[in-house]
Amino acid sequence: MITPHRLSVKFYFEELSVDAEAFIPVFHRWIRENVVPNELLLDVADYKHILDGPAILLVGHEADYVIDFTDGKPGLLYVRKQDLGADLSNALDTTLSQALNGVKLTESDVELQGKLKLRTDGATIVLLDRLNYPNAASNGDSVDTAASAEAHLSDSLAALFGSDATVARVDNDAREPLTFELRAPSAPDVDTLLSQLGTGN
């Protein structure tokens, strides 16, 4: 399937005992120390004044890392914006591996270690491309596209997160981008997932 314009994955916090503000110096250090492989990190944006929104952004050229509180559900949102690959499969692999790397970096960060934990047994995946992946509720091509994307994601993610992993389309507003929820009760840990994606240590 065609590469979406943007693709995002959000992993949710199981524990979070620091304020959003604590991520600002961490992200600045990540930029300075160039900790993310294959990505150019640019700046940190502070939106913590917005209620239940993207509180702190680590803005990059290829991707953004967001400490995101949308819908009151704190998580680490990874938004892939550039160099997604040749098709949806490539885009998903790239996005997942970089997002999981972000999870690992966050959990192991010297200033954050022990103060937070992200879970891998679920995630939200968004195809930010209303042209090629419309989120229409009506019958027609758009529904077929959404169903095809759902099947594609299901196959890919089950192979990675375990055979009991399920992907379900979120019944959200048609103006929102096409969104899927991953549930993976027996998901392996981050290192294993990264290893399976071929990007682990």
Partner: protein
Amino acid sequence: MSNIGWKDVLTDDMPVDLAHEIDIFEGQMELMGQGKLDEKVFAETRLRRGVYGQRYDNGQRHDGFESRELEFEELDRIKGPDTLWHAPGMQRIKVPGGGLSPEQLDVLAQVADEYSDGILHITTRQDIQLHFVHIEDTPDMMRRLAAVGITTREACGNSVRNVTCCHLSGVCRTEVFDATPYSEAFAQFLLGHDDVQDFGRKFKPAFSGCESEACGLVMMHDIGYLAQVKEVDGKLKRGFKVFVGGGLGTVPHQAKVLSEFTSEEEMLPLVQAVARVFARLGEKRNRNRARIKFLVAKLGIDEFRRLVEEERKTLPHDDRWTAYLDTLPQYEEKPAKPPTFLNGQVRSTEFNQWFETNVYSQRQEGYSVVTVNLPLGDLTSKQTWELADVARKYVGDNVRATVEQNIVLRWVSDSDLPSLYEDLKAIGLGDPGAGTIVDITACPGTDTCKLGIASSRGLAGELRTRLTAKSASLPDAIKDLKIKISGCFNSCGQHHVSDIGFFGNSRRSGNFKMPHFQVVLGGRWRDNAGSYGLAVGAVPSKTVPEVVDIITNRYIDERAKGETFQDWIGRIGKKEARGMIQPFMQLPAFEQEPDYFSDWGDPRVFSLGDIGIGECAGEVVSLFSMEISPAESEAFEAQIALDENDPARADALAYSSMLKAARALVRTQFLDVGDSPDRIVEEFKTRFFDTELFFDQYAKGKFGQYLLDRHQNPNPNPDNDSAHRLIEEALLFIEATHACESKVGGNVLVEI
């Protein structure tokens, strides 16, 4: 599926002319990519499509320790001078009069999450800005906006910018008449007009329905229209009092009256004549003197008016001048619901607090305007389409952005107010305090602006948090004060017209720079930005919350009954005002207060570029620091002289303060310069001006020219206006002297 783009999908939805313009822009992008367009030409081209630069787009970023190169791909590919193609930028979206429909909000939300960081930012001129946008995404973004009637054309660049209009027009209790349809006709007439394509700088128009309120801010615009009705031949005629040559920026100018009454038939030909005069006689080479305010000041308003009147006579007739008048009778806003009343409904305390500050009772009985108080002017994509649904439910198309970075919902049927409040609260947009001291305006500053010196948004966020926490206990006397913050002297945060304003600058302490804010007191928001405040001194950024407390507490304690903040500042005088902040002007060393050397929300050690090294730390200050201090004092004395209605003395002191600052700078290289003004100016010119060491990266030699001009052409009869201007210039010259010394690095130290 893969070969179909937005261009194909939206062909039937876009106005043909807009679609064509976007195709042309896309073509120009391709030519630029092939190296077939001059970089400056392309830069102006994209600016006129609202595609703006953003901080770090030169590929350099200071990480708190050193400047580092941002390794974008294709580093040799640019989209303008010193601007890398792949660096993300800002997209400004024009919203005439701030008017938005729910359908437009939906699309704005969608392009924000697909092409930017998912945040929509309302500007102080009713525009919407998206940040971190890649240039390749802009044509499709423009197409999606065009499909719902929005253009980004001439949102930036040397053109007619967004036409602003009071957000209460049409429902205001004090207006003469609704200026909205006139502002719309004006915007439509000038968009892409041949006579507005050759300006040396931007041109900002504003419309207001009444004189005493602030909403239209006509006095601070390049051209401003104030609704008037005049009896002509026994009939009441609509028209406007027209102002020209106002502006904030580095040196603020109050607009002058171009015409006491211009009839509605003459509104468009008059501005066309003004545009022609501005294009023909306005400065083109020196962009720092190119706004129309400089032309008006140079010619004088009488000569400018004469030229405009002569130009008007030569204009070939255009049917569009009056065609819009035929549409006026049909212009009306349709409320979504019939009028109702709030009587008898149970109100929560929370609702009452919100009602008190965020609800304006319309002139039309049974309806209100609700202000959605946006923190720092921001809302998310998700909030935007949720707000669109709220608008559909309660007010339909009656939504406008405001110059205080909020959104208003007009024509709310009064009995809906409690449920509307609950709906806004549910989407995180139910904050009370609209238009009060907690509702702080701030430009983007160092967050994203290339010109930002200090973090205006960081400071605004901090002040908002602190003031909101104690808002319930704030005395009524200060609840409605305006705080406005700019990240630099360019005034995008409109600090000149607030009660308490701030603009970012920096000072050096030892080997480090410290973010500062100049404190500007006593500006007047009311009366359409009726008067401008003056700077009383610079304080470290981290002390600003305490400075606000000190100033507001003193006002609470000392104000006479009914005395406004401006009147109080006027009564105590600027010397006393400066005395309030004086204790905060002593700069600690880095070792004493390291936190002072980083900005709000940004832990990096503060820098304007490279951090100075090599000077002795500890109990030493440079000779320059010792000698610049009297210059600052003298500039301050000049302000007091102006307060005392002594423009000649004010003029002399302002000039003397510039000479002192120049001398301090010269003496970092040449100790024996002496005291002769001619010699000081000569040495300053030779060593710092001609060598461009004194030049600001963006303002170039503008600030140095202030001294050269005043030295060469003293004003024999200074009046209050000219003295005021010279004081502003002296303050900027002194700021530039600090910046130059920081850049060059003083090398003469004196122990104290």
